[in-house]
């Protein structure tokens, strides 16, 4: 009973966290940079969702607030990419990785402090999206169930767009070879903007979906970023499938550790898996060694 509850709980939270990991890995695939400020886009998503529900849509129409929150963060992502990150691709900057690291960490600090200034230091909670339910043997918050279903829908949509549309093909091409895709007449800088916007919108979706359960406050993105990075190392940096499988695996490993050892060390088990993978399969489960020509 306890085992099944823990595994289910791990799978649920793993799937939701994979949304965050997908955002990180998607941006990395296209732009070859790590966005260290991902948690702050998660945080902004949760604030926008809260503001929309409280002031505009009401608690019953959280599903209308969700796409608006994602769109708002998508637009913010476009602006950030255009003004702060694009120069590293057009200016001939030598230390591109360092530039991206400095910029995204600075953004992290800026957004976190802006949240304190604008929203105050206290936590907020949007009203519940749904009543608590029982999933198999697991009593679960209705919010988390809604988040699970919404995440699966978003992952499905993302898959369809990437696999079945022209834009998706262009993005996959850019992920494989940024120079090569330009020979086909595709504006790779525009694709960068799109990828960054979509990546941060996915983080915002996670923040908006988890807001009633994990609350809305300036530092709420920290742990999901942490989990997101853990997942992409487990699944393989740059692998979309890896981010989903890695999320579920992380959730299950944490659950099993909680049952057989102690739930007090829940976050340690994921790290042990991560260290084991770095030793035996440094590219992660679905990652590939980088090839350079």
């Amino acid at each position: 009973m306890l085992l099944s509850q823990y595994v289910l709980s791990g799978v649920v939270i793993g799937v939701i966290y994979s949304l965050m990991a997908l955002g990180i890995t998607f941006i990395y695939s296209i732009m070859k940079m790590i966005n260290w400020g991902m948690g702050e886009f998660y945080m902004i998503g949760s604030y926008v969702q809260y503001a929309l529900i409280v002031s505009l849509f009401g608690p019953r129409q959280w599903y209308l607030a969700l796409p608006v929150a994602m769109a708002a963060v998508f637009l913010l992502g476009l602006v950030v990419q255009r003004l702060l990150l694009r120069p590293m691709f057009v200016g001939g900057i030598e230390r591109r990785d360092e530039y991206a690291t400095v910029i995204t960490i600075a953004l992290m600090v800026l957004f976190r402090n802006l949240a304190i200034v604008l929203g105050g230091p206290n936590q907020y909670a949007p009203p519940d999206y749904a009543r608590p339910v029982t999933l198999g043997t697991l009593p679960i918050s209705g919010n988390r169930f809604v988040a699970l279903i919404s995440t699966l829908v978003l992952l499905g949509l993302f898959y369809l767009v990437i696999k079945r549309t022209w834009v998706g093909r262009a993005l996959r091409g850019a992920a494989q070879n940024r120079v090569g895709i330009q020979t086909a007449g595709i504006d790779v800088l525009r694709l960068d903007m799109l990828a960054f916007g979509v990546g941060v919108a996915l983080a915002a979706a996670a923040g908006a979906l988890l807001a009633p359960d994990f609350l809305v406050y300036p530092e709420n993105g920290a742990i999901s970023t942490f989990k997101g990075f853990e997942i992409i190392v487990i699944g393989g940096l740059g692998s979309i499938l890896g981010s989903i499988v890695g999320g579920v695996l992380l959730g299950v490993i944490e659950a099993l550790g909680s049952v057989f050892v102690s739930s007090a060390y829940k976050d340690l088990y994921g790290f042990l898996l991560l260290i084991a993978l770095l030793v035996f399969r440094p590219t992660g489960l679905f990652g590939e060694r980088e090839r350079s020509v």
């Binding site: 791990g10 206290n122 936590q123 209705g142 919010n143 359960d213 609350l215």
Partner: protein, 402 residues
């Protein structure tokens, strides 16, 4: 106008300026080092700072201290983290030349700044930090006007025993406060309630998903849940315990007075109903003249009953003003002597600091009461005191089945 004539006109003004006490006297600075941003319990810090400011205003309205010097508060945010607390204290002691620092809320931060208080010889006051070791170290410049955790844990163990709960689960965070709660509760159960069973879980304070820990507790089938979270973790425990069906089916006791704040219902809604919680102030309490005056002024200004943190912040600034006047000096050693020798009017009684055994060193303890919310959105002014029995104003009630 020649330079000589100009000097002749300005010289008297200069002499008056230098000799007038009103103009020459520097203000006496008191530091308020408290959490005003996450991950600290920022709401608590805001109330403490609010009370301290009202305390300084009152002192200044009475003519200040040391023959007319004004109190000037310097507020610093420690964010509930030891490193920011240490930086803030250093600034208050060196750059601002504060004569004392009040406002400490998180035990981990208080523990970090105590060493600096000794180094800079600046008295530091715990306003709501309750870890045992704070006063147990017997430091010269550390004072506390708040409860200590051994007393808190003994009280909740008595409450658990008297309610007839056999199995108690304590979930708390990996801070000095949380670890202290676990140690003290284990000791209290061993000495006061050997027949009772205790399960303890400590989680990382940054964790937001507490479902596995709460599921483990639920499957252990406790009779009562002791919620040892501070700030956001307290809310996360309450919310998630409700979602998995643990609370209110299993009664929950929150370890401190956060539910008395207005934000409680905004954050938890119906999930906060039936929670029991420890408070140090209740609106039905008889206060001192100073406490009553503060309460009236606070209610007039903020249209709500004061919160304990505000009362304690206010009282600490007032007692510092009294001690400065008694010492007739703003030198730290004179101030410490005056604090130890004097009796000061607090918000609900006379505060004095003695150098007792163990943690009862330069320590003054307010009362501790258990209260309970029995309906959603219940105003704090309407909650009943359910424990201890000699002070109770109502009976503790189990939640009806969901």
């Amino acid at each position: 106008m020649t330079g000589r004539v100009r000097f002749a006109l300005l010289a008297p003004l200069l002499v008056i300026g230098l000799t007038s006490p009103a103009l020459a006297q520097k203000p006496v600075k008191i530091g308020v080092l408290t959490p005003l941003s996450p991950p600290g319990d920022a709401a608590a810090g805001q109330f403490i700072a609010r009370g301290a400011k009202m305390g300084a205003d009152d002192v200044n309205a009475r003519g200040g201290v040391l023959g007319g010097r004004k109190i000037e508060l310097v507020v610093e945010d420690d964010s509930g983290t030891p490193e920011k607390g240490a930086a803030g204290f250093r600034k208050l002691a060196t750059q601002d030349q504060a004569v004392a620092v009040v406002g400490q809320f998180h035990s981990s931060v208080m523990t970090a700044v105590q060493a600096l208080a000794e180094q800079f010889k600046v008295p530091v006051f715990s306003t709501q930090a309750s870890a045992r070791q704070i006063t147990e170290q017997h430091l010269t410049y550390t004072f506390r006007t708040h409860v200590i955790d051994p007393d808190r844990c003994q009280m909740w163990t008595r409450w658990v025993k008297e309610r007839g709960f056999k199995r108690a689960a304590l979930i708390t965070e990996n801070t000095d406060y949380g670890v202290g709660l676990v140690e003290e509760t284990k000791k209290a159960f061993a000495s006061m309630y050997p027949g009772g069973e205790l399960k303890t879980i400590i989680f990382d304070r940054a964790v937001v998903d507490l479902t596995p820990q709460l599921l483990e507790i639920k499957n252990w089938k406790p009779d009562v849940l002791l919620n040892g979270g501070i700030g956001t973790p307290m809310y996360l425990i309450t919310k998630q315990a409700y979602d998995i069906g643990l609370h209110p089916a299993v009664p929950m006791l929150i370890s401190y007075d956060a539910p008395s704040r207005p934000e409680y219902w905004k954050t938890l809604g119906e999930k906060g109903t039936w929670a029991s919680f420890i408070v140090y102030y209740h609106p039905t309490m008889k206060l001192t003249a100073r406490g009553e005056a503060f309460r009236k002024k606070y209610m007039a200004e903020f249209k709500e009953d004061p919160i304990y943190g505000a009362l304690n912040g206010y009282a600490q600034v007032q007692l510092l003003a009294d001690a400065l006047n008694a010492a007739k000096s703003d030198k730290s050693d004179d101030l410490v002597k005056a604090l130890l020798a004097g009796k000061f009017e607090g918000w609900n009684g006379t505060i004095s600091f003695t150098r007792g055994e163990g943690p009862y060193w330069q320590q003054w303890t307010p009362p501790m009461l258990v209260t309970q919310y029995t309906r959603t959105e219940m105003p704090f002014t309407e909650v009943k005191i359910v424990y201890p029995s000699e002070l109770k104003t109502g009976d503790w009630m189990p939640a009806p089945k969901r």
